[in-house]
């Protein structure tokens, strides 16, 4: 592994007093994509929420480019070079598709998004609609585009392909690959092997709030991954 860009060190936490994630460590290198896998309810989403400051960790640290961001409000993340795309409530339903994309920009021009609109023409067609009227899969695409376009070095995405059609999953994978080559790093929580197999450099598997396997994607056969995912 090259020098790590994003490091999670012995992170613990959960909701209320219950610990869902216990002492999890994980690192993502520059230009690397790490896929976080596991069955429903093993603490994957909780881990990324803790890492991105949405939940307050009970212990451990998170650093990006050597700078500790543990316990900082999530609104500081972008300044530190970290983007987070949540699993649920992924877009602003009350805002139009265009507003969702340009919300944090100085102007409302959509030029910067042309390259994404070419890949996902559906979003361009619906840019004047309220995002709340999009289907679940379309919302995921919008959230994905928003995350990539923010231009942070580190992108954390929770289940980007939920409800997304096969062709678009492939296109998402292609976009991740091209952004990796430009130096972006990814931590992707995923259940869809179509995406995992196309983008993952390393695979981390969680169970019961703990990492149970971690290794290069090339070293893992599909059956081995599946053995962790099905009961």
């Amino acid at each position: 592994m090259t020098q790590a860009l994003f490091e999670i060190d012995r992170l613990s936490g959960g909701y209320g007093s219950g610990l869902v994630v216990r002492d999890v460590s994980l690192a993502v290198g520059r230009g690397e994509a790490v896929c976080l896998l596991g069955r429903n309810g093993v603490g994957k989403s909780t881990l990324v929420k803790l890492a991105c400051g949405v939940l307050r960790p009970a212990g451990g640290t998170v650093t990006i480019a050597g700078r500790e961001i543990t316990g900082r409000p999530p609104s500081d993340n972008l300044g530190a070079g970290l983007t987070y795309c949540p699993q649920e409530r992924v877009v602003f339903d009350d805002l139009t598709v265009a507003e969702n994309l340009t919300l944090m920009r100085d102007n409302r021009r959509l030029d910067a998004f042309d390259r994404f609109f070419e890949v996902f023409p559906r979003l361009s067609e619906r840019r004047r609609q309220h995002a709340g009227t999009l289907s679940g899969g379309e919302k995921k695409l919008l959230s994905f585009v928003r995350g990539l376009a923010e231009g942070a070095n580190m992108v954390v995405i929770d289940e980007p392909t939920e409800g997304v059609q096969f062709e678009n999953v492939v296109r998402m994978a292609d976009l991740i690959q091209s952004h990796k080559q430009a130096g972006m790093s990814f931590l992707v929580v995923e259940q869809n092997l179509t995406l995992v197999e196309r983008v993952a450099d390393r695979i981390v598997i969680m169970d019961h709030g703990d990492v149970v396997h971690s290794g290069a994607a090339a070293d893992m056969a599909r059956d081995e991954i599946l053995s962790y995912l099905t009961v």
Binding site: P73, P74, S75, C85, D94, L95, E99, L103, M104, D106
Partner: protein, 284 residues
């Protein structure tokens, strides 16, 4: 006859614009942040008392505008920090808390100034002839100021990203934080902007109304129900609600009696709360 119609029309326009100016602050706090600030009328009242003090001190009347904004804004900061934020901006809980706040502010002012009416001199005297009818200049100035402020704000809200960010924050606070919106500050600033503007509105109306500790109660009723009828969180709703409630009040007052006007407004509001609680033009 013709001139009577013109005067009436100007009166209706005046009522509507003044109501819209009064509703504006509440529309920000209630329409955007979902905080049912029942004490909003008391902020207007504090603005009027500030105007009274400024005038009494011999300062130019315009100085009351920043003074009221600062006074009401500062109280807004305290209220946000110790009342609204701890209640997580919940509509129902803030309704109760600001009910208590209204009581508190009324009593504090009563303690300081007594129950009696204070009158504020009209800063711009004289009148202007419109189609042969004399109309007080100050009222016309108020109408223009109110219209300009509303239009300016409307344009700003549609163009500047802050409006969209406020909507984003209200609709999905977690994601708003994730995309870099400092939701705490934004919510506080929005709330304070609403209370500060209420103070300015208080300065505007002070010369035309008896200034007393309980003046906020009637103001809040009209403003509140204008929003209920118009719909929360949209500029169209603000205008529509002010036009309907203000227009209805003004026309019925002139044609029948103030009591009928007031009752008609209440009945209309009850019908809306019952059958269409989100108003005519709610946020989608």
């Amino acid at each position: 006859m013709e001139s009577l119609v013109v005067t009436q029309a100007i009166n209706v326009a005046y009522e509507v614009l003044i109501l819209a100016a009064l509703v504006l602050g509440l529309a920000v706090v209630m329409g955007l942040l979902n905080v049912l600030n029942i004490a909003h009328g008391e902020f207007v009242m504090l603005g009027s008392y500030t105007a009274y003090l400024v005038q009494k001190a011999g300062l130019p009347y315009l100085a009351a505008v920043p003074a009221a904004a600062v006074v009401c804004g500062a109280i807004g900061v305290v209220v946000e920090r110790f009342l609204i934020r701890p209640l997580r901006y919940d509509p129902f809980e803030t309704l109760l808390a600001t009910w208590g706040l209204g009581l508190l502010l009324r009593k504090l002012v009563e303690l300081g100034f007594g129950r009696g009416y204070r009158s504020v001199d009209i800063p711009i005297s004289g009148s202007i002839n419109i189609f042969g009818e004399a109309y007080p200049t100050y009222r016309l100035v108020l109408m223009v100021v109110s219209a300009v402020v509303l239009v300016a704000l409307f344009v700003w809200y549609l163009r500047a990203p802050t409006g969209a960010r406020i909507r984003a924050m209200v609709g999905n606070p977690v994601l708003a934080e994730a995309v870099g919106i400092r939701t705490r500050q934004l919510a506080r600033n929005t709330f304070v902007a609403g209370t500060a503007w209420a103070g300015v509105a208080g300065v505007m109306i002070a010369p035309l109304t008896p200034v007393e500790p309980f003046m906020g109660l009637t103001l809040i009723v009209n403003s509140f129900f204008a929003l209920v009828v118009g719909g929360m969180g949209t500029v169209t709703g603000l205008f529509a609600g002010s036009a309907i409630i203000g227009g209805l009040q003004s026309v019925l007052t002139a044609a029948v009696s103030p009591t009928t006007a007031y009752l008609a407004m209440l009945v209309l509001s009850i019908l809306f709360l019952w059958q269409r609680p989100r108003g005519l033009f709610p946020r989608p």
